[in-house]
């Protein structure tokens, strides 16, 4: 076996530099690599460029902490537990960061192009909307379109040259420095097994130059290779691995634990202002490490979230976050 891919939480965060472009595994409030997100906030990372198929609490925490300069995506919020991204909304209103809007399918297809090594994807979605308004090309307005990591255009319109199907929109491949994944299992050599919906994880891992996988458990590689058809990401696409139980909290993980709705509700309610965010970060992030964070949450809360192994979710969780 080659050199170990194992790193610590601190090292994972250190791989992500000021100004790095970054994407994550998961979907809205599910399987987000929160332990790494918290560590980035503790290390006071600056100038991050998030490129996400969809955003969620991880976006809100990083944005609230002032780590993010650019966000390219389509959605941010906490689903049932907070109807919009209050921190992002505040920072956009104050012009403290750049937001580039695409549609959800456009973001997905941008990652698929990035993962396939293609320069762009073609789609018919969102024609006629303000997503394609040339005045709303925010990275272009800011003079950031260098044609290197940030594409020369937000999108390009063309006509179908093959079948005469009419207007098409070309969207640029997502080029991302680092993908941070949060999954159920990873092998010693990096093979990933995601249980449940894999969302846009395979494309995110493949599109990024460096892929860090934080898993609920590191398992013997041989165990995963016995049923290779059940694996999600091949070993060589993963550069670093780390084990971090409950690293997704407060987001959920299929088969392991539910979303902590009460935690997200509390965050959403308390962080409408910068003072509120800073207060929340002092309570839950700064001065903590992952273990002291879990101790603060406590056994009874964690056991309430623990998934039933037959159902893959927790039948005990108050879904409304009550």
């Amino acid at each position: 076996m080659a050199t170990s891919k194992r790193i610590t939480l601190q090292q994972a965060a250190e791989i992500i530099k000021d100004g790095s472009s970054l994407t994550f595994s998961g979907f809205t409030i599910w399987r987000r690599p929160f332990a790494v997100v918290y560590e980035l906030i503790r290390q006071r990372r600056k100038g991050l460029h998030l490129i996400e198929v969809n955003g969620g609490p991880q976006t809100e925490f990083l944005v609230g902490a002032g780590c993010v300069d650019i966000w390219e995506s389509c959605w941010v919020g906490h689903e049932l537990y907070g109807k919009y991204g209050a921190n992002l909304s505040r920072k956009v209103g104050n012009k403290e960061m750049i937001v580039e809007d695409y549609s959800h399918a456009e973001m997905m297809f941008r990652f698929a192009a990035g993962a396939a090594g293609a320069p762009y994807a073609v789609t018919q979605t969102s024609l006629g909307t303000d997503i394609h308004n040339p005045d709303y090309d925010m990275l272009g307005k800011a003079g950031k379109r260098d044609g290197n990591r940030i594409p020369q255009h937000k999108y390009v319109f063309t006509e179908d040259p093959f079948y005469g199907a009419g207007s098409q929109v070309l969207v640029p491949a997502a080029k991302v420095d680092i993908a941070v994944m949060c999954v159920q299992q990873v092998g010693e050599e990096g093979t990933v097994r995601v249980n449940g919906q894999y969302y846009s994880d395979p494309e995110a891992a493949r599109a990024a130059d460096i892929t860090i996988v934080m898993a609920e458990e590191i398992v013997p590689e041989e165990y995963l290779r016995r049923n290779a058809d059940q694996n999600t990401i091949p070993s060589f696409e993963v550069d670093y691995i780390l084990e971090c139980p409950f690293g997704a909290h407060p987001t959920g993980m299929f088969g392991r634990h539910d979303v902590d709705g009460a935690f997200l509700k509390d965050f959403y309610g308390r962080t409408r202002t910068q003072d509120g965010f800073d207060d929340f970060a002092r309570e839950w992030i700064h001065g903590h490490d992952h273990m002291s964070y879990l101790e603060k949450l406590g056994w009874s809360r964690m056991l309430g979230l623990k998934a039933n192994t037959a159902l893959n979710y927790s039948p005990r969780t108050g879904k409304g976050g009550k």
């Binding site: 979907f27 909304s89 549609s103 969102s126 006629g128 893959n312 979710y313």
Partner: protein, 272 residues
């Protein structure tokens, strides 16, 4: 069969849920977002549309969840599904033209069914930044029909939305931004568009040729004139068919005893 509930037996959310469920036809492929639409689709599945196929945006295909998921990424989506995969599948299937109906929401809607979920006020100097598009424009671009469920306030039913997040019947042609019928823009990908808006006041439909919204039914207790007053644009009330059918008692039992007993999306009406 017509055991319609009396006004005091149901709430507005019940009425919306049942009106939404009635938009579903059996055997259709339906794209579900989070919230009340999910309850509506599952209600249709339990009543007149047992063979509908449910797609969750996060990647569950033909899902039959035994209890209501809190979001489309939820582990509850996968139970009983034909396949659990990812967003690339879900959006490719939609772009391929496999989706009959999608349920969506919005903060603002205009007379042509253009919907805004991105920003209140000027995009470049926003009063309030909202969640953003999510899959709203994608489902609205790809599905044959879409149904919007919205809170009805005069400030939300506007002549022109602040930002077109999701395409209605008359949309903007770039780079100029002139309004054209969506048929002209979507070419062979044109399959339809918004077929109904179910608001807290009534049910609205669209004239496909002109692309303009008209009032179809009024929720019990509302009059066409009242509803016209609740829109900033000149609402066509010449085609009203009467009142929106109330929920049946059987539908209410399904909603509150089977689908959403914990009142996550639909509150129970308090007795007495």
């Amino acid at each position: 069969m017509n055991d319609y509930a009396l006004p005091e037996e149901y709430g507005l959310a019940d009425l919306l849920c049942c009106a939404a469920a009635r938009e579903v036809q059996d055997n259709e492929v339906v794209f579900a977002g989070t919230g009340l639409p999910m309850v509506a689709i599952m209600l249709a599945q339990e009543t007149h549309a047992p063979n509908l196929k449910l797609i969750f945006e996060a990647g569950t295909l033909d899902g039959r969840p035994p209890e209501i998921p809190t979001s489309v990424g939820d582990a509850r989506c996968e139970m009983g599904a034909s396949r659990a995969s990812g967003l690339y599948d879900a959006f490719s299937i939609a772009q391929r033209g496999c989706v009959d109906l999608g349920f969506l929401g919005g903060a603002e809607v205009d007379v042509y069914g253009n919907v805004n979920t991105t920003v209140i006020g000027d995009y470049l100097n926003p009063e309030l930044r909202l969640t953003g598009s999510g899959g709203n424009p994608d489902i609205n671009s790809f599905a044959r029909r879409t149904v919007f469920i919205m809170v009805h306030e005069k400030r939300r039913f506007v002549e022109n939305v602040s930002y077109i997040t999701s395409p209605g019947w008359l949309v903007k042609q770039w780079p100029g931004g002139d309004f054209v019928h969506r048929r002209e823009l979507y070419g062979s990908a044109y399959r339809g568009g918004p077929s109904a808006v179910i608001s807290t006041a009534g049910v609205f439909r669209f004239d496909e040729a002109s692309g303009r919204m008209y009032l179809d039914t009024c929720h019990p207790g509302k009059t066409p004139t009242e509803i016209k007053e609740m829109c900033q644009f000149d609402l066509d009330i010449s085609r009203v068919q009467g009142d929106t059918a109330p929920p049946t008692r059987a539908e209410l039992r399904l909603i509150h005893e089977v689908l959403d007993p914990d009142e996550i999306f639909i509150p129970k009406v308090k007795k007495g």
